[in-house]
């Protein structure tokens, strides 16, 4: 397939990112915009825009038929879905195919299998990957109690159709199981239209480590190393880094191998991420899930490998073989990414959309900023609150961290509240600099955030 014109079916920083990759590849871009995004930065960067609907995402960015009709209408050969919205909708990917449009991502059946967490667990286990002790679908609280007794408390309740932390609940006491089960099922039903819940052992001292892989349609798979995304708030990543700090060479090798094996076994095509939970006390890892899209935190991998993942996505989608063997992929230095969102850290991270009056990011050769913001931009209230991703690279973790601290200190934003003060606090905390991280660190630090930070 020769790609010529791409419909960029997303918004915000990732739309800017995809347009930039298209330019490098000589591809024409058409950006889908809702009424709220007509004047956005990516709208100005794209070769043309097409207005797909009102601000509400359900009537614009989340409507598969509207997006495919837009691609047909502007004669685009391919759709890049970015992340979020329709990026992991197997039905959307199939609809693209039905209208002869290349979906820049894996095949629909691969999205579908990994989209159901229970199916993904079964597939991983079948291919010999370690999975957390857990259950199949639980129908009753009695069934859940039996499983909890078998695998031991605490347990995590998870939505089979889940993502983005919704429908997930930690149960520490048996008498909480029944009410939490009801709450998790209700949350899952409203978020995903599917209230299937299962149980998994909960690892208290855990790290979240994920492996970036690329696979082509000829069955070749390579990994681009791993990222540590342990710093999370409500199961949403806040800070990511690559490579994962403070793990043994053997553990690192085994995690990377496990990810490649899973992708090879399923003939995975395009960019994907295999997520693992690392039990720091037991020094072992478990398969968590696989994300069948480009991820928010992909720049840290790009920073240490020098490979442009979005460009690779287009090459793979066009049917080209991977240009790299595993040995060609070299890792250099250390990278950290901070997600800057329009939220108020002192008010429970309440979203704070509005007009940005000053936007002065730091600039240096080792700094990358992926953002759609500028002074004068009105952050709409209709979408997620991500303003940008600040990425720094250094020769080692210590240098990367000191560069991140410096970059955050120099970043000035006015007009809206941001998480910059919180990020400065976290990046300056001795637990992070010592690599003493786990998935609860951010929640712990929120309570220690000094009142006066600005």
């Amino acid at each position: 397939v020769t790609l010529r014109r791409v419909l960029v079916a997303n918004r915000g920083e990732i739309a800017v990112r995809i347009i930039r990759a298209c330019r490098n590849l000589g591809l024409e871009t058409v950006l889908t915009v809702s009424e709220a995004d007509r004047d956005s930065l990516p709208a100005r960067l794209a070769d043309r825009t097409v207005c797909i609907g009102p601000p509400a995402a359900t009537r614009s960015y989340l409507d598969p038929r509207i997006i495919v009709a837009a691609a047909v209408g502007v004669a685009a050969d391919a759709i890049h879905p970015g992340y979020g919205f329709l990026a992991e909708s197997a039905d959307f990917a199939a609809l693209c195919g039905a209208y002869g449009i290349t979906f820049v991502g894996p095949r629909p059946e691969q999205i579908r299998r990994m989209g159901n967490k229970l199916e993904a667990r079964a597939l991983a286990r079948q291919h010999g990957l370690p999975v957390l002790p857990g259950s199949q679908r639980v129908h009753t609280s009695e069934e859940a109690a039996e499983t909890a007794a078998r695998i031991g408390l605490p347990v995590m309740l998870k939505a089979a159709a889940g993502g983005g932390g919704r429908g997930m609940k930690v149960v520490r006491e048996l008498d909480q199981l029944q009410p939490m089960l009801v709450a998790a099922a209700a949350e899952a039903r409203s978020a995903f239209g599917d209230d299937t819940i299962y149980l998994e052992r909960y690892i208290p001292n855990a790290r979240h480590v994920e492996v970036q892989i690329l696979g082509d349609r000829f069955g070749k798979v390579v990994h681009l190393g791993e990222r540590d995304c342990s710093l999370q708030r409500r199961h949403q990543k806040v800070v990511e880094e690559a490579p994962a700090p403070a793990i043994s060479a053997a553990l690192r090798r085994n995690i990377r191998r496990a990810a490649v094996k899973l992708a090879e076994k399923m003939g995975y095509e395009n960019a994907g991420t295999v997520e693992f939970i690392l039990d720091q006390d037991a020094e072992c890892f478990y398969f968590l899930e696989m994300n069948t899209r480009i991820q928010v935190e992909h720049p840290v991998t790009e920073a240490i490998t020098g490979i442009d993942l979005v460009e690779e996505q287009f090459r793979i989608a066009a049917g080209q073989p991977l240009r790299y063997s595993q040995d060609d992929i070299r890792f250099a230095g250390h990278a950290i990414e901070c997600r800057i969102t329009a939220e108020l850290p002192h008010q429970g991270f309440r979203p704070d959309p509005g007009r940005i009056t000053a936007w002065k990011p730091p600039e240096a050769a080792h700094i990358r900023l992926d953002s759609h913001c500028y002074a004068g931009y009105l952050v709409p209230m209709f979408y997620d609150s991500l303003l940008g991703k600040l990425i720094v690279h250094g020769d080692d973790r210590r240098q990367a961290l000191s560069r991140m601290q410096d970059a955050l200190a120099r970043f000035e934003v006015a007009g809206i509240g941001t998480t910059l003060p919180f990020l400065r606090f976290v990046m300056g905390h001795p637990d992070f600099s010592a690599g003493r991280v786990n998935t609860r660190l951010v929640e712990d630090l929120i309570h220690k955030l000094p009142e006066a930070t600005t």
Partner: protein
């Protein structure tokens, strides 16, 4: 019982206003009075003779006839009522009827049959009849911007 608007509510109202086609906003809810002007707004409809624009209610291919080969549903100079079907939007394999939305006379048909249109794109302009102009006063159609 109405609750007094919170800061969040006001922010939402102002954002909706920013995205609207209106130039001026005045609002009183309980003890809160709100007035705002939008510098970038289009000049307000100044005369009752202003035309009403019929905007595409969704994205797709505009069809001026009920089926291929059939005569166009409306021609220039046609007199329409609010519920007169003036065309269809075909989105993949589904068709959606577009109605005039106003009493008046068709004065412009800028989109030819079979053309792809975006959400909110002007499909036709209608000069409202005198009675309708008095009743509506301001354009109440979506997509009055060019």
């Amino acid at each position: 019982m109405t609750q007094d608007p919170t800061q969040e509510d006001i922010r939402e109202i102002l954002q909706a206003f920013e995205l609207s086609a209106y130039a001026h906003l005045e609002l009183t809810v309980g003890p809160v009075q709100l007035a705002a002007d939008r510098a970038a707004a289009l000049p307000p409809a100044s005369s009752p003779a202003a035309t009403a624009c019929v905007a595409a209610p969704l994205l797709g291919v505009f069809q001026t006839a009920a089926e291929p080969g059939a005569p166009a549903l409306v021609e220039l100079g046609a007199v329409v009522k609010p519920d007169t079907v003036v065309g269809f939007i075909r989105t993949l394999d589904q068709s959606t009827a577009v109605v005039a939305g106003v009493d008046g006379t068709v004065v412009d048909l800028p989109v030819p049959d079979g053309q792809f249109v975006e959400f909110g794109q002007t499909l036709l302009r209608i000069s409202p009849s005198a009675m309708a102009a008095v009743a509506s006063g301001r354009p109440d159609q979506r997509g009055t911007s060019p």
